[in-house]
Symmetry: C2
Subunit: 230 residues, 2 copies
DNA sequence: GTCTATAACGAGATAGAC
DNA sequence: GTCTATCTCGTTATAGAC
């Protein structure tokens, strides 16, 4: 009984994984907009109706791929952070940013899925929010640790940004100065500008040594948030 | 004779514009990946083969839409720059950045076409490069003008970035210090990170007063490049 | 010469009957 | 779960109107 149920559960996990793998292959070949449950089923030798046992709709399959992508990226970033835990705050920041870039370069289609153009007709459910926040939380943690030590210089904050900066700090990083929280969110977005430009071809004919360029750009980003050289 | 040729030329221009307008409508509804010549022709009451008199292939239509989008964005940015010509360098920079954001918010699907995920199976030809460079050249111009006056503080430049910075400066902004040129290219990419995050929904639950947040973020970007407050 | 329309190709998706 | 009839697509060849 328990073995048969265990085997059933294991089979379900394996089939689910096979469906997502095949869907990721289609993502790379045709793009998220053309992801079709039928085509996935065909390439797996299944009939399309069988897929609905695993994913109730195309959008649910998309959501699963998005969550997987955020989690894969988040894991890579957290691993890099762990390896740099004993270094200074700027080095930690740079390590996380380089992990984001490295993951994006090795998973370009999954990166496009989560940070590229929205998929027409698809609206991400709230379940994608926590996985999407992982890298951001990691960066917040680095700045918070620096703030608790002596490693943070508070950036300037002008009067008309203050209300928004205070809201951001209250919502996302209550133990940070509002100026640092706002600067951090801006740097977070800017990091993805650098990665997206490289990945989507905007650096063609512009930047050649992209690794070096990126490392320095994100180090400057860290200093802009107020992190001190370690 | 000349009137008949003029009428023909005019008709050709009008039909070309109608095709592109309809294609842009489909872009908004279905996304670039699903842009179809047949659907465009159908909605225009034409037969699909007739479209080939105007665009030799689907990819050529896509290219035309991309060039139009870059030109529309470039024009908006240049207009904003002209209106801020008498202000200080930071104000000019912020004005151009705000024009980019404003254009993106009013043309989200065209923005996604040029700065979002690559279209599967499509490779942009070299003809897209000059229109794509317009905003960048505008930003270079602002920094160059500040450099010729007293309005530029040269950012620091570490040894291992120097070769790439010198290459960038030589290729794109020969009259700028390499450090400023490299910082400028990074800021250019980071600007689009801010716009893309807002447009693609990453600021959901994170940033509320997005206009204020954006203005301050790009002003900080300008100062990071070395521009002085005007 | 410039355009549009008809027809067709090969490939792929899709809906529904069975 | 399978099969088939009918859609879609990009693209080309061809013929005829202006």
């Amino acid at each position: 009984m328990s073995t048969s149920q265990g085997a059933r559960a294991r089979a379900r996990i394996e089939v689910t994984a096979a469906i997502k793998d095949e869907a990721r292959r289609q993502l790379a070949a045709e793009g998220a907009a053309k992801l079709s449950l039928r085509a996935v089923a065909r390439d797996l030798g299944m009939v399309s109706s069988a897929l609905y046992r695993y994913f109730p709709s195309r959008d649910d399959l998309l959501t699963a791929l998005i969550i997987d992508a955020y989690d894969s990226l988040g894991e890579a970033a957290e691993k890099a952070h762990g390896a740099a835990a004993s270094a200074g705050p700027v080095e930690q920041w740079v390590a996380v940013c380089e992990a984001v870039r490295g993951w994006a370069l090795t998973h370009p289609h999954e990166y496009a899925l989560i940070y590229g153009s929205p998929v027409p007709g698809y609206a991400a459910p709230q379940t994608t929010v926590p996985p999407a926040a992982r890298v951001g939380l990691l960066l917040i943690g680095i700045v918070r640790d620096a703030h608790e030590g002596p490693g943070l210089t508070e950036p300037p904050l002008s009067a008309d940004l203050r209300p928004e900066a205070e809201r951001i700090a209250a919502d996302l990083a209550p133990d940070l100065p509002p100026a640092a929280a706002a600067a951090l969110i801006a740097a977070w977005a800017q990091l993805y500008g650098l990665v997206s430009f490289e990945l989507f071809g905007q650096f063609h004919l512009v930047v050649e040594d992209r690794e070096t360029f990126f490392r320095h750009a994100v180090a400057r980003l860290a200093r802009g948030v107020g992190l001190a050289e370690g």
